[in-house]
């Protein structure tokens, strides 16, 4: 999967490239609107990450010309200006999604994956990780053959983490997915709930599956 990052902030471009490369994407970076547009038209990309404020051609113009040239490549907009009309304008011009700076890298990754349809497509029935088994249909969780007694929200939280095994999920994303809290709420609440979940899923067992990534969120993996 090839991603073009058009972003003039050297540091932003650098960490995007690094992070996305490590997540398995091939990343090209351009720090200039015209160059970026040229690259986007010359080469085949699966996704373009586009900053609005870039030299020579701004993000709006790059997007407009790209669409005029008939390219349907998905575009994820980045901007420091979070006005509703700007957001609407970007979407009207044909952007597919929009992120406001400052953003969490895990958020970028989540958006990229969802735009590239790499999120799990077919609903799994059973997720297995080490000795943990989650039956999504029957809403049953067992570990080492023992049935775990989880509340509905705890089950949702565990399923979310398990379905994105290996991905760091931010507290905001978790709060939104599990409790439908679509804003930066008091994210300590997520910590409390994860702690409770751990006390049932991890604490009684030697191998820990749910890990905290300080400052970023939580990840579930069995390494």
């Amino acid at each position: 999967m090839r991603i073009l990052v058009i972003e003039d902030g050297a540091k932003t471009a650098k960490f995007l490239k690094k992070g996305l490369s490590e997540s398995g994407f091939a990343v090209e970076v351009s720090g200039d609107g015209l160059d970026g547009l040229h690259l986007a038209l010359e080469m085949e990309f699966d996704l373009v990450i586009l900053d609005v404020m870039i030299p020579s051609l701004d993000g709006w113009q790059v997007l407009t010309r790209l669409r005029q040239a008939g390219r349907r490549t998905p575009v994820l907009f980045l901007t420091a200006r979070d006005a509703v009309h700007e957001r609407v304008r970007g979407l009207e011009l044909g952007a597919d999604d929009y992120l406001v700076k400052p953003f969490a890298f895990s958020e970028v990754l989540a958006r990229v994956r969802s735009l590239l349809r790499r999120a799990p497509q077919r609903p799994q029935e059973i997720i297995r990780m080490a000795d943990l088994e989650i039956n999504l249909l029957r809403q049953r969780v067992t570990r080492s053959g023992q049935r775990l007694d989880l509340t509905f929200k705890e089950f949702l939280l565990l399923s979310l983490l398990a379905q994105h095994a290996g991905e760091v999920l931010s507290r905001t994303l978790i709060a939104e997915a599990v409790w439908d809290m679509n804003f930066d709420s008091d994210t300590n609440v997520v910590d409390v709930n994860v702690r409770r979940l751990r006390s049932k899923v991890d604490d009684p067992f030697p191998q820990k599956l749910i890990h905290t990534v300080r400052g970023a969120g939580y990840v579930m993996e069995s390494d």
Binding site: V84, D97, M181, N182, S185, D186, V189
Partner: protein, 496 residues
Amino acid sequence: MSWNLTSSVAPVSRLWRTLAFRLTAGYALAGLFLVFLATASLYLLTVAEMERSTRLFIEDKLHVLRTMLRERPGDGDALREEVELESAARRYEQFYIRLLDEQNEPLLTTPGMAEQLDLEQLATQTGIRPGRTVRMKGRHGRAFRVTTATAPVGSPPTQTDTIQIAIDVSQQEEFLQRYRLWFFSILLGTFVALPLIGYQIARRGIRPVEDMAATARRISSTNLRERILPDGYPFELASLAGTFNQMLDRLEDSFERISRFSADIAHDLRTPVNNIRGEAEVGLARARTITEYREVLESCLEEAVRLSDLIGDLLFLARAESPLAHVRRESVNIVELLDGMREYYEASAAEAGVLLTTSANRAPVIAPLDRRLVQRAVSNLVSNAVAHTPPGGSVVLAASSEDSAVHIEVSDTGVGIPSEALAKVFDRFFRLDSSRSQAAGGTGLGLAIVQSIMLLHGGKVEIASQLGQGTRVTLHMPIAEQGHAAAVPNHHMTKT
């Protein structure tokens, strides 16, 4: 009072714009008009009175002569005395009489009459209209009133004589001339004095306004302390001064809030930035183990997240204030929303030993609201309530509705808020206890955000608290304008 104020009289037109000039002109014109009216009417009255007394005098003389001619036509001595002596003895308002018989031959004449008057002219002028008093100039330029009348002689009359009377009114004329001189002097004096006096009065009247203007000029963002002292001003201006002072109070208050706000922003931004900088600097000062580097990076990330949350909140507040801000209303069941909120906070509340419940009233409360915004507002309230309620306490969420508004109530049995702090809790960065709130991760913007969300909904937020007893916050939102919100495109692709 409209005269031409075109460009040809530019200085006047410029002057006309000053209040003092307008008032002065008004006073002066009104004064002049009244003085003119008074003196002119007095003059006309005097003239009329003089004419009348002259006429009465003449009529009186005629009456005497006619009576004498009718009753005692033969008494020549009495007539002579009446005609020749009495008149000649007068010094003031001298009069002359000539008595003519039927053949127009003079019978008696006051001495000097022919010398003073052209008798031919007299006869022709008065002959046209007998019995009427007529003006006439004498030989020496003196002014006379003359008249001619017939007088039957004897009873019954045997013949008809003619009486000609002339009265010298030159002294009256002189008096009137002096009067006119006076009149014009007074008008001239008034013309000079009134504008001066008027200008003084106008200036005195306007001075408080100028004082106010001067005060207003001295006021700037750095000097908002200045006030107009309303003492000694007339009532109308004192009230203006009062209003002006109140405006300054509000401005000063706003400025103080803004500058405090800026200082708070600087402080709250500086702390995480400082931590990031310091930790990175110390971390890089010498070679460290991987674990140590990881520790530094993680801590930096935490600070960065704090920073970015703070920026997010500040942006939210700034956007809520912008006139472009809008509310995406959809039909929201508030009871369900509160249930969701309870589920979300249940674990934290349980951990804090606080009982979090929704009110027993389960009747659905449905209103067109911006779900995300209301969620955010309630979340801030619940988060505060749980954080400030000691173990064993409880937090209750309740919703109610009436015809035109919905209400959401979050009440706790927590520590409460001192009454003097109650008014400030909605201020940005206001913290009751800064150390604890900081530790709890609060930005001090939670209630400010609640308030702006309510303002966006056209509603308001009320807070009541008793120290040691608990706090109750109520959100009131009117549910009038629905159609207005429906037109807004509902792009729900982004999460802030």
